[in-house]
Structures are given as structure tokens and as C-alpha cells.
């Protein structure tokens, strides 16, 4: 009996190992496709992937364009770094004093019900978005204070029943009047992805309270927009279905139907291999490596200059050790970031040496911080952080779990700092507990050194201004401890930086701003304002049948970058598609 039991157990174990080692049956039976035709084909069903989607939140309360809604809702512009791609607006002018932005709308644009899109819809859409009932008054304060009368409208102040700073000049011209000169107005507001255009003629007939509360049937049964696809159905947790809008201003789109399907990424990749999805975006590098050999799948890769893995310092740890640029330079020299890009990112990433590295604003005399352990030690010795002091110093890193690549970044840095002689520890802190942790209620109190996060300029190069010249802290520090760090109070370059930001804000033309940004980037580079930048490439996996994709990572990071031209996508051999 015992022998039989042993035999059965061992057999089960062996079977499990063999099953695990066996290749996973994810490949389609179909032979590899040949070269696609050059002409766009019409028809078929495009299956697009989305990890998850809280429709009840995103449809109604944010009224924003995302990977799910962008098929039917459009904005005035797509923002790029220092520029734009015209969508429902063809362009804009700025007055000499920089206070009035005049937006010229595209003519001949129709909503899905056939009505024409005009300036009335623009003003209505902004007033709906900033309705006092949609988000708490303080939620969009920074945005709302830019436009004359917008904040009062958002606050629901008496008499403020419209946004006075948005003026309709004629059917195809709208003016935005600013409260102050602000070159970040375009990337941060006018071209921001959270302002899709809504049909005034439909929405003004509905109950306003229900509309802003998200309880109106309209949001569930038939929201309309001007996009290439019109809404058909939303089955929560499963998919959103769209049908082609033949009168789309950009010309008739290719696929007849679009399904946005919700699934975890691991499942989605298998669905892609089985032909149940046509594209999976932000795919893990590990899977891209595997699928490069798959004849039916294309791996699309674009360098990312808009967002990075970063290591944000606690300015107060170690008696202000990380306020010293040389300490941070040493941190950079100690870490084999290129090794991390090669091993963990499988080459799908780029080591960055400054905030604007890789963009038009990059410092012309960029100093590179390559892996050099001896140099790192020498720099620390130079500032008095000698080997014996390092061996006494407990260096604490913290990182959110849940993303293997991010945790592996901590593993790489742990080794780097151990090699420098620090006693190093990694704390995995759940996002929900992070606020408590940074407030000193974690196991390290207030004495943790760095947090690994993801940040970047996106399409808005002005985001660092309040951190460099204002009183906004950058970095992690205990909020309830009476200590404060303002970069400009400590940096020898503070005056120069303030002057550069002043020059930048005095110009509205990005070309004129560029030399000032470049000078600013040299300061950021020298001071290692944000340590440890690694740009993670953007990877998408797509089926061979999906054609017409132009991947451009200089377009907004808040939405799948290639979706800027999704109206041009088409399916090769649409008759053979499967849903």
C-alpha cells in the first residue's frame, strides 16, 4: 500500500514537471502570413486589448479620452513634445501678450448622429468637464486657475454660470483667455487628453444633474462623439463594442467593427497568439523576446523619452546627504544601469543621464554617468562619506511590489550600494501603505533614503518649474515632520535656473524656448536633480493582419501612443478574421 502511494505521488510529481516543461500550446495552426498588400483593405473586426476598465468612473466622472473612449471621442489636438497634431482643431494663434489663445476648428466634422461640430460644442464641453457637480472644486484647481472665470465656474460661485474666458468668435473659432502668461497652457490644458468634445445639441436636452452624476442612461446606452467609431455596447468586465463611422472627417476607417476586450496581460498575450486579439500594448519585454520568433506576430518598439524609472531621494535622510549632487553622482556611477537595461529590460530601454536626455531640450555638453565603481567611491570619499562611514550607514530603498521590472531595479541598486560599502535594505511597500510609510510610520521611521518610481516630462516640459523655483518639494519626505526642502534655497545654480525659467515663460514659441531648456538641462544633469533615469521602451505586440500602425512615442504618454492614428489602421484579409 505504501509503495503504491509513493509510486502514485512520484508519478504525479513527474507528470507536473513534464507538463510544466512542455511547450505551451499558444501558437495558431495557421501558417505564417506572406507580405501584406500595400492598399488599405476595408472590413473585418479589430480586437483591441485593454487590461481593465472602470467604465462607471471613466465614462462619466472624468469625461476623458482613454484607450477605450478614444475610438469615439476626440479632442482639439494631440499634444507632442513642443508641438501638436491637429485633430478637431487645425491650429491656434497666441496674442502678443501671451494671454489669448485663438483656436481654429476643423470644418465639416460631424457627430455620429450627423450633426455638425462647432464652437458651441467646444465651450459646452469645457463647461461640462468643469461642472461643479463632477469633481470636487479643488480637484482641478491648478488647471482651472489658468483660464479666466474657470475657477469661479468650477467653484459654483454665484453668477458664474459660464466660463467667461472661453469665448465663441464664430462657428469655427474659439478664444481662450488666460489669467496669466503661461506657455504650459497648451500641453497642460488645451492639448491635454482629458478634454474630449461632447455634442451640445444632445446633452443640453438631458437632465444636467443626472448627466454630471453619471446616472443618465445616455452614458450607458448611446454616448456619441466625432471619432472614427461609434458606440454600440459596453458589457462591463468583458468588452466595449464599436461600429465604423463612415462619415468620419478623416475618411472611412478600415475595420467594420472594433471590440475593446478586457483581460489580464498574460491572458491577452495568449489570446493574441490564438488570433482572438490583434494588439497588446505595453507588453512585457520578457514576452516580446519570446514572440520575436513568432511568424504571425510583429513586435513594435519605440524608445521612450517621456517617462522613466527614477529613484527619488528623501532629501532629509542622512542629515541631508542626498542634497549633495556628488552623492547622487556617486549613486549613478555605482549602478550598472546598462546591465539592467540589457538583462532585465532585454535591451528594450535606454539609460538617461538627465531629465531631457534624448529630447530636443538635451544639454549640449551632457555629462554621462557610466558604471564606474571606483569613481563612485572617490566621489563619496571627496564629500567625507568615507568607507568606514559608509559601512555604518543603513541605506534604505523602497519600492512598490507588483511590477517585476520595478522590483528588479531595486535588486540591481541593492547590489550597487552594497558594493559601495553601504548596509543596504529593500522595503517592498504596498501602494496603499505608502502614505503612512513616507510619513514615518513605517519600519524605518523617517530615515529611508530612496523610493523607486516612474515619472517623466511627458509632453509637458514645464512640469519641473514649480519644483525648481517655487515652494513645491520634489522627492519623498515625511509630510508631518516640520522639515522642508526647497531646491532653490540650497542650490548654487538656483539663481541661474530661475532666470532660465523666466526666459522660457517669456516665450510662447518652443523654438525660442529650446536654448533655455538646454541650459536648464545642463543644471539638472550636473546636480542630478532626479537620480537614476532609465527610459523603458514602449513595446506593443500585434498580429500580422493589423496594418497601418505608426508608432510615435513623442505623443502623449497618458494614452496608447500609437492610437494617434488608429483611424488609419486596417485589417489585412478582413474576410478571414475571427472574433
Amino acid at each position: 500500500m505504501k509503495r503504491q502511494l509513493l509510486a502514485v505521488n512520484l508519478l504525479i510529481a513527474l507528470a507536473l514537471i513534464l507538463t510544466a516543461c512542455a511547450p505551451v500550446d499558444t501558437a495558431t495552426d495557421a501558417p505564417a502570413m506572406q507580405e501584406p498588400p500595400t492598399e488599405r483593405q476595408y472590413g473585418g473586426t479589430l480586437n483591441f486589448w485593454q487590461p481593465s476598465w472602470d467604465g462607471s468612473k471613466d465614462w462619466f466622472h472624468h469625461i476623458k479620452r482613454d484607450e477605450v473612449t478614444t475610438w469615439m471621442w476626440e479632442e482639439l489636438f494631440w499634444t507632442t513634445t513642443g508641438g501638436f497634431i491637429p485633430v478637431l482643431a487645425t491650429g491656434y494663434d497666441v496674442s502678443d501678450d501671451g494671454l489669448v489663445y485663438t483656436v481654429h476648428l476643423r470644418q465639416g466634422v460631424k457627430f455620429h448622429d450627423g450633426e455638425e461640430f462647432t464652437a458651441e460644442d467646444v465651450k459646452y464641453s469645457f463647461e461640462l468637464k468643469y461642472d461643479p457637480g463632477i469633481l470636487p472644486p479643488e480637484a482641478l484647481k491648478a488647471e482651472a486657475e489658468r483660464v479666466e472665470g474657470l475657477f469661479a465656474y468650477k467653484q459654483g460661485e454665484e453668477g458664474a454660470d459660464e466660463i467667461t474666458g472661453i469665448r465663441i468668435v464664430d462657428d469655427y473659432t474659439v478664444e481662450f483667455v488666460l489669467t496669466d502668461r503661461d506657455p504650459s497652457f497648451f500641453p497642460g490644458f488645451l492639448g491635454y487628453v482629458e478634454h474630449p468634445m461632447m455634442p451640445k445639441h444632445v446633452l443640453e436636452t438631458l437632465d444636467r444633474d443626472e448627466l454630471v452624476a453619471g446616472t443618465s442612461d445616455y452614458w450607458v446606452t448611446g454616448p456619441i462623439g466625432t471619432g472614427p467609431y461609434q458606440f454600440v455596447e459596453h458589457v462591463p468586465g468583458q468588452y466595449v463594442e464599436y461600429a465604423r463611422f463612415d462619415d468620419y472627417w478623416g475618411g472611412k476607417p478600415g475595420p467594420e467593427r472594433v471590440f475593446v476586450k478586457f483581460a489580464p496581460v498574460e491572458t491577452a498575450i495568449i489570446m493574441l497568439q490564438k488570433g482572438e486579439l490583434d494588439i497588446v500594448w505595453e507588453a512585457p519585454a520578457e514576452e516580446a523576446v519570446r514572440l520575436m520568433d513568432d511568424p504571425n506576430i510583429d513586435v513594435l518598439v519605440a524608445d521612450n523619452v517621456m517617462g522613466f524609472w527614477i529613484q527619488t531621494p528623501n532629501w532629509h535622510a542622512g542629515d541631508g546627504l542626498w542634497q549633495n549632487p556628488k552623492a547622487k553622482q556617486a549613486m549613478l556611477h555605482a549602478a550598472d544601469r546598462q546591465g539592467y537595461v540589457d538583462n532585465v529590460m532585454h535591451g528594450f530601454g535606454v539609460v538617461r543621464h538627465s531629465w531631457f536626455h534624448g529630447t530636443r531640450f538635451e544639454c549640449p555638453t551632457l555629462q554621462e554617468y557610466d558604471y564606474d565603481l571606483d569613481k563612485a567611491k572617490a566621489l563619496l570619499d571627496e564629500i567625507g562619506m568615507t568607507a568606514d562611514k559608509r559601512s555604518e550607514y543603513q541605506l534604505e530603498l523602497t519600492v512598490y511590489p507588483g511590477n517585476k521590472m520595478r522590483v528588479d531595479y531595486a535588486v540591481m541598486l541593492h547590489e550597487a550600494y552594497t558594493q559601495l560599502g553601504f548596509k543596504t535594505n529593500v522595503d517592498l511597500i504596498d501602494a496603499a501603505s505608502w502614505a503612512d510609510y513616507r510619513n514615518g510610520r513605517g519600519p524605518r521611521g523617517t530615515e529611508f533614503d530612496f523610493a523607486i518610481a516612474n515619472w517623466g516630462p511627458g509632453t509637458n516640459p514645464y512640469v519641473l518649474e514649480p519644483y525648481m523655483v517655487g515652494t513645491v518639494d520634489l522627492g519623498y519626505w515625511p509630510l508631518d515632520v516640520e522639515r522642508d526642502f526647497h531646491w532653490h534655497e540650497y542650490s548654487p545654480n538656483a539663481e541661474k535656473a530661475a532666470e532660465l525659467w523666466g526666459n522660457i515663460f517669456a516665450e510662447t514659441d518652443i523654438e525660442a524656448q529650446t536654448p533655455y531648456f538646454q541650459e536648464l538641462d545642463c543644471i539638472l544633469n550636473e546636480e542630478v536633480f532626479i537620480p537614476h533615469l532609465i527610459g523603458e521602451s514602449w513595446i506593443a505586440l500585434k498580429s500580422k493582419r493589423l496594418q497601418g500602425i505608426d508608432l510615435d512615442l513623442n505623443v502623449s504618454v497618458y494614452i496608447v501612443p500609437m492610437m494617434v492614428d488608429m483611424a488609419n489602421w486596417w485589417l489585412w484579409d478582413p474576410e478571414a478574421d475571427s472574433q
Partner: protein, 296 residues
């Protein structure tokens, strides 16, 4: 002559402990399990002496090398030696199992003894507490606790230890309920011995056998729980290896298909340790079963 007889009688005295030991050593699966677990324990304890490399030292140029003579089980993404990490990981996984079980068996002995011996309202309160805790999904509470306390080896031990006590408490209480009615306990009580002494000296020894069996299976369960927590990133933080966090690298098909040496060794280690401990538990259960003593 009489001395010789005495000697012979002493030689053939067959105590219950000896009978149990004899039965246990005859249990082949248990002995096999004991052998395997001993090897794993020895490897873990003497890891610094046995391991050919450092468990955390990175050699990025040795990226995912398959098994070779230098690296018996290959290297991982950071060029670390998998065999070295495997035996160091055993220290974490096995000690989490042992300590967690130690925590909850201690709680169980304490509460079970009080409930069983005193009965009445105390018993009712403790048993209702047991009922309540048993209705809560263990893994979810452990994840919750670890999220609050922060992932670490000690917090894993604590979280698993805190959630495991209801079942052995019931076991201890049940045993003591019957033992307290035995004549020798009544005699001790009538002699005026204090309750704590009766419990410690006369009642608890009767609970040891079933508790040891339960604890053995508990260690296996705790090892699996720790592996699950580490796999989810809530166990032992990097770069300290545990079998669970070593397996967490196998979350993509690329590694599952192409780099089996990253996840098969820790998987096999978990499987072998759990299987072995369960075999030992089976052996102990058979050896300590009073119904089998006469035929032993």
C-alpha cells in the same frame, strides 16, 4: 541468577516510546521523507560552507547561463548562482515553516488547555473565537497582515503563525476534555495539586502525540504559504532568496518555456520538502496511533 533475570527483564522492557520509534523506523516512506528533509536542512544550515558562490552577488555578464560545471543549476537574470540561492533559500523557507508552526502550536496549547480543562464559559468563549477565526479566509488575512506590517521573513512567520491556531486549539481541547476525566487526573486533583501543575505535568503530555503529528503537517502547509506570499511579492524582500520569490521569476511564458532552471529547482525543493514532511507526518501518525500499539 536473579540478577541475570533482572537484566533480561530490563533488556526486554518495551515502552510505548520504543514501540512508537520502532513503528516509525519501519515506515519506509517516513524514513525516506526524514532522509530528504535532513539533507535539505543540512544543506540550508551549512549553506555558507557548501555554497560555491554568494547568493546575492551579481555578475551581469553571466546572464541566465544554463547549468554548467561551475554553476550546477545555472544562473539567473542578474548572473547569480541558482544552486547557491536555492540552498540559502531553504534557510528562509524551512525556518518560516518551523517558526510559524511553533507560534500557532504554542497559542493552541495555551488556549486549548485552558478551554479543555476549565470548560464552562471559558471554553465557550475560546471555542466561539476559534469558530470565528476559522470562517475567515486564511490567505487573504495573511496577505492583509503582511501588507500592513510590510513584507519580511519575520512578518511572514508572524502572519502565518497568527492565523494557524484554531485547528490545533480544537485538537488540544478535545484531547484534554477526555484526559481530564481520567482517574489519575482526578487523583491529582484530590491530592490538591494546583491546576497549572496538573495541566503541565499530567494532562499536556497526553496531547503531545497528536500535536506533533499536526505540527508536522503544519510545517508543510506553512512552507507552501510562505512560497505563495513570496511569489506574490509579499514574502521575503529581495535580494534575500526564498523558494517562493525564486519561483516568482516564472511569471512569463518566456521563462516558463526557455529558462526552466530558474523555476524548476525551487519548485522541486518546495515539492520535495512538503512531500517529505507529509510522509514524516504519516509515519508519526501511524507510530503514535494508540490503536496500533498492541500489534506494534
Amino acid at each position: 541468577m536473579s540478577n541475570d533475570l533482572q537484566g533480561e527483564q530490563q533488556f526486554f522492557v518495551d515502552t510505548p516510546a520504543r514501540r512508537a520509534m520502532r513503528r516509525f523506523t519501519r515506515h519506509r516512506l517516513a524514513m525516506l521523507g526524514l532522509g530528504v528533509i535532513l539533507i535539505l536542512v543540512l544543506l540550508s544550515v551549512f549553506a555558507p560552507a557548501i555554497a560555491p558562490h554568494s547568493p546575492t552577488k551579481q555578475e551581469l555578464s553571466l546572464y541566465r547561463k544554463p547549468p554548467t560545471q561551475t554553476h550546477w543549476l545555472g544562473t539567473d537574470t542578474f548572473g547569480r548562482d541558482v544552486f547557491t540561492r536555492l540552498i540559502y533559500a531553504g534557510r528562509v523557507s524551512l525556518s518560516v515553516g518551523l517558526v510559524a508552526v511553533g507560534i500557532y502550536e504554542t497559542i493552541a496549547i495555551l488556549l486549548g488547555a485552558i478551554a479543555g480543562y476549565y470548560g464552562s464559559k471559558v471554553d465557550w468563549i475560546i471555542m466561539r473565537a476559534v469558530d470565528v477565526v476559522m470562517t475567515i479566509p486564511t490567505m487573504i488575512v495573511i496577505i492583509f497582515l503582511v501588507s500592513i506590517l510590510g513584507p519580511s521573513m519575520y512578518n511572514s512567520m508572524l502572519a502565518i503563525g497568527i492565523m494557524g491556531w484554531p485547528e490545533p486549539t480544537r485538537l488540544v481541547r478535545g484531547q484534554i476534555l477526555s484526559l481530564r476525566e481520567m482517574d489519575y487526573v482526578t487523583a491529582a486533583r484530590s491530592l490538591g495539586l494546583p491546576a497549572y501543575r496538573i495541566i503541565l505535568r499530567h494532562v499536556l503530555p497526553g496531547v503531545v502525540a497528536p500535536l506533533v503529528v499536526h505540527a508536522t503537517f503544519g510545517v508543510a502547509g506553512a512552507i507552501l504559504l510562505e512560497a505563495g506570499l513570496s511569489f506574490l511579492g509579499l514574502g521575503v524582500p529581495p535580494p534575500t532568496p526564498s523558494w517562493g520569490n525564486m519561483m516568482s521569476s516564472a511569471q512569463t511564458l518566456n521563462i516558463l518555456e526557455r529558462v526552466p532552471w530558474l523555476w524548476v529547482p525551487p519548485g522541486v525543493a518546495i515539492m520535495l520538502s512538503v512531500l517529505s514532511i507529509n510522509f514524516i507526518g504519516d509515519g508519526l501518525r501511524d507510530a503514535l496511533d494508540p490503536r496500533g500499539m498492541e500489534t506494534g
